[in-house]
């Protein structure tokens, strides 16, 4: 049975935003620390480190998950997506990122990567969410700047764009 000793640095190979990457981690290393310190992918932010604030939310095999509640060794062989993979290589923002920009859905930006990764799964599963569904879905992401209204507006606007409709401009119509 694969055993990784406490002080051994295990080679971890995974797919990050479609690219194969490798690094080394001892068993206790959190996935969020591995992403930031080993792979240099600092878009994912470290917040509360016990699963409450949502800042470190990434996608693991397509499902949103807390990178502070996973060990790096558990991500070996898995496909991860982080905020770095949302925009295209030429810098074109994803529809959700564009909606955040247009709706003033971020100020300091600390919570933004986690919100984008959470809402990404929400909008894939539910193309026409209600405001209440959005609010429940982001209940696990804490933002101390916006008061959430602009984030909800952005999510609804992005959902409209993804459905091929003209974006609703939140409550600024």
């Amino acid at each position: 049975m694969p055993l990784i000793a406490r002080d051994a640095h295990h080679r971890i190979a995974l797919t990050l935003n479609g690219e194969r990457v490798e690094g080394y981690a001892e068993p206790r290393m959190l996935l969020v620390d591995f992403l930031r310190h080993e792979l240099g992918a600092t878009g994912t932010h470290t917040g509360c480190e016990h699963g409450v604030c949502g800042a470190c939310t990434i996608r693991v095999e397509g499902r949103a998950a807390r990178a502070c509640l996973m060990l790096a060794v558990q991500a070996d062989g898995k496909a991860l997506d982080t905020v770095e993979g949302l925009a295209t290589r030429d810098g074109t923002l994803s529809p959700l990122q564009q909606a955040f920009h247009e709706n003033f859905a971020l100020q300091c930006g600390f919570c933004t990567p986690g919100l984008l990764m959470s809402l990404g799964e929400v909008l894939e599963r539910n193309p026409d969410p209600s405001e209440q569904e959005i609010r429940i879905a982001i209940g696990g992401n804490i933002c101390r700047c916006t008061g959430y209204q602009e984030i909800v507006d952005a999510a609804l606007a992005a959902a409209a764009v993804l459905r091929g409709e003209k974006p609703r401009n939140g409550n600024k119509d």
Partner: protein, 280 residues
């Protein structure tokens, strides 16, 4: 924050996991989804020498209904139960409780059995298991045994699971024909730990109410023959008595008095909702 150092084991099957527990006993901790265990490791409330990671064991991630029970394997996530197509028809109480468990991001990894093994007093799944009278399947190298919910969760964060045993499955009774079910919880924000969680089941003239978050473990009471006027007056008295019997204590989230008030008021509401859903 960093967990204290541990050896990490990834067994290839259940036998290897049980062998690891046989060897390491109290030094080992089983990790399934890790959504309760990882915070405890990060904060060093726990420092096991060995982590046995069963999260990717496909032989344990089944969900199936047979012989009056839904059997849920130890690696099955709360999200996979929520997406199980038969859930609403087979176990309406679970279908109503699931959206309240943490956030969708934690349900994506958190497991049903892990939540039972963690046995937080305000946790939804232990409350549902206790209210429905379900059981947990424990296995060690010596064999397996079934323990009913009331005997499994013995105190706050404490269960009957021995050091060389692990929870391999949970068995929730399927819905009783004609019964109505309802679930409610009060929390500061959606997905937070419940201050008080309530689960109700109404069949004919039988009312059953389970309450989490007041006592150290979920508490269940059953009342019979309450109909008509008795349903209003006697039920209020019964809920008040139940609230006081559970004790409860003040903490940072709420006072014991507030918790009793939730049992009295929201208790009545969930029972009414379950009664409406029942064929009476």
């Amino acid at each position: 924050m960093k967990p204290a150092a541990f050896d990490y084991l990834r067994p290839a099957d259940l036998d290897e996991a049980l062998a690891a527990l046989h060897e390491h006993g109290t030094d080992a901790k089983v990790m399934a989804g890790g959504q309760s265990l990882m915070p405890m490791l990060n904060m060093r409330l726990l420092a096991p020498a060995v982590i046995v990671d069963i999260s990717d064991l496909e032989s344990l991630d089944g969900i199936e209904a047979s012989n009056g029970h839904i059997e849920i394997g130890a690696a099955a996530t709360q999200a996979s139960l929520g997406e199980w197509p038969e859930l609403a028809a087979t176990a309406p109480l679970l279908a109503k409780a699931l959206p309240n468990i943490g956030h969708f991001q934690t349900r994506n990894r958190g497991t049903v059995c892990g939540s039972l093994a963690h046995s937080d007093p305000s946790s939804e799944l232990p409350l549902c298991l206790a209210t429905l009278g379900g059981e947990v399947v424990l296995q060690s190298r010596e064999g397996n045994r079934r323990v009913v919910a009331a005997d499994f969760q013995t105190a706050m964060l404490t269960t009957d699971c021995g050091p060389q045993e692990m929870v391999v499955a949970a068995r929730f009774p399927v819905a009783v024909a004609g019964a109505g079910y309802a679930f409610a919880e009060i929390a500061r924000r959606h997905g937070d730990f419940a201050i008080v969680a309530l689960a109700a089941m109404v069949t004919g003239d039988t009312i059953r109410l389970g309450v989490g978050g007041v006592a150290d473990t979920p508490q269940v009471r059953e009342w019979h023959g309450l109909e008509g006027d008795a349903l209003t007056d006697e039920l209020d008295d019964a809920l008040n008595a139940f609230a006081w019997e559970m004790g409860g204590s003040d903490d940072v989230h709420a006072t014991a008095r507030y918790r009793r008030e939730i049992v009295r008021r929201i208790g009545r509401k969930v029972i009414a909702e379950a009664a409406d859903a029942a064929d009476r």
